[in-house]
Subunit: 320 residues, 2 copies
């Protein structure tokens, strides 16, 4: 690029142009006074509402394989954050992106940006800021802010003894999809459940006033439910026979594997919540299933038709 | 860790405990209804104010050397974001952290967290959420939200022909400090200017109503001022003899190097702003210097005692 004056500054064109080309979208966006391109975004929430903010990072080789289709990856890194907003009962509004990658691979970026915007557009979320940096591996941090009526946010800590434990949708599909993918097989439904996780945003917005506590199932039901129990200072029992399983999962795996995926595979991005109230069969169009009860104490017990079951592996350990 | 019940979930203890141990601080925090530990934070801005949000990523080997003292790194990754909030005229409030690293190195984490909290505490900023993940290199994304009176945010795009161009503090110190460090020498003041950048938060909060446009000097004056000119659709002239230089910089380097550091070394985190109004000698306790004028056109011209000067390298290119 030629300098534009005797001492014109060679601007950091690459980052700026990358952001302009792939991430800036025209048009008015909800609550956005100033979006991408200044030192910061300027946002205007409604009075009487609170801001909910979440952040999640995906690392190449840890959270996704290097050859994952970039559009799926873009979709995913938005969906996992939308899921956290949903678990708070919030309405997602604005997103920021921190993207580290080895170089400016245009094809990859185009795919990634399209998936990112697709997931965001489904919930009218706008990208209001970002930062692209160079690094050896791809690291993606997406942060989403939303809002919720003042005092209405649903926390992990509100579960009370006697509450019923619910989950949305079906469990284990994403883990099963990943396992099939790794084995070179494929079931389109299960694969899509892994590649394009559906954040339960509409169901989440139905939780304020209905749920006593909620968490999203990202690391596996057992691990995530335990976090909810810990935060609430209670125990819980779940009925294994009540776990909602998809027909595709049941067709592709034996009973033991079905249960393992449903209990301990991550990436489902369903909501797990507790309530003492009458809960409709569906929330935001998604089926809701009662799977257990909040109990005294601090442990999580699994029963199969009444009998206590011992289970080995579960959850996801980031540093092991 | 022993399971706590026949099917107790082995929780992802490491991440959770890391966050608890190093990042959670007790006590009430400004505007924070719910902080770390739920699916998201819940925040309550004042009515009549807007939210300003910024994000910045630091990558090991790209933005900092692998052996950088972790406390300095923690301090720095907060300061660079505070600087963006300052450049918008905002009041910093809340921070989220996405931290990727090879493993849970306790000594490193303790140092990093102490520097992070030190920088945050200087401006009463609280950490409200975060995510730690495993990856080969250290990648740190910090996102800070603040607020500003409705409509008062200072943008890059407001500079008008005839406005005076100002900078806070002195330029080039951080780049000089880094050069000395790389050469195995050291000047305590210059080194500290690199290791512990001082975001001009108080000066930034004096900008609304006073400045027509502002940007922080993170990539180098020439590059950053050019961004401001581009956003405003104007040109500019700067007087090289007017650039504010510290006595330490002048003592350690010859004139040519002084100028190179002041114009094109990054990491100063001073504010560059424009105004048509009378500007005090100091803003938020920091000296302010007039260095040039906004002109017609779109180019940035440097003059030394009136004579146009051609300058070669400057700025920082992320993908080159």
């Amino acid at each position: 690029m030629l300098p534009r004056s005797p001492c014109a500054a060679p601007r950091p064109v690459d980052e700026f142009e990358l952001i302009q080309r792939y991430f800036v979208r025209d048009g008015e966006a909800r609550g956005v006074t100033t979006g991408i391109g200044d030192d910061g975004a300027v946002l205007q929430p409604e009075p009487g509402r609170e801001i909910v903010t979440v952040i999640d990072t995906l690392v190449e080789g840890v959270h996704f394989p290097a050859d994952m289709p970039p559009a799926d990856l873009g979709y995913r890194c938005v969906a996992v954050n939308l899921s956290d907003i949903a678990a708070m009962g919030g309405r997602p509004l604005w997103m920021t992106l921190a993207l580290t990658m080895p170089g400016a691979d245009e094809e990859w970026l185009g795919g990634f940006a399209s998936g990112l915007h697709e997931a965001a557009a489904e919930h009218d979320v706008s990208l209001v800021g970002g930062d692209t940096t160079r690094g050896d591996a791809i690291v993606i941090s997406v942060q989403i802010s939303g809002d919720v009526a003042e005092g209405a946010a649903v926390h992990r800590s509100g579960a009370r003894v006697g509450d019923t434990i619910y989950v949305t949708g079906t469990l284990g599909d994403a883990g099963a999809g990943l396992a099939l993918l790794s084995a070179g097989n494929s079931d389109e439904y299960l694969l899509q459940r892994f590649l394009r996780p559906t954040a339960r945003v509409a169901a989440g917005q139905a939780l304020p006033g209905l749920a006593s506590a909620a968490i999203d199932v990202s690391d596996g039901l057992l691990g995530d439910l335990q976090k909810l129990l810990d935060a609430s200072g209670v125990g819980g029992e779940i009925r294994l026979e009540a776990l909602p399983l998809s027909s595709d999962l049941k067709a592709a795996f034996d009973k033991k594997s079905q249960r393992r995926f449903a209990l301990s595979a991550g990436d489902d991005y369903e909501l797990c919540f507790t309530s003492s109230r009458e809960v409709p069969d569906k929330l935001g169009g998604v089926p809701v299933t009662a799977i257990g009860t909040i109990t005294d104490g601090d442990s999580l017990v699994c029963r199969n038709h009444g009998e206590i079951v011992e289970l080995a592996d579960s959850g996801y350990r980031h540093f092991q």
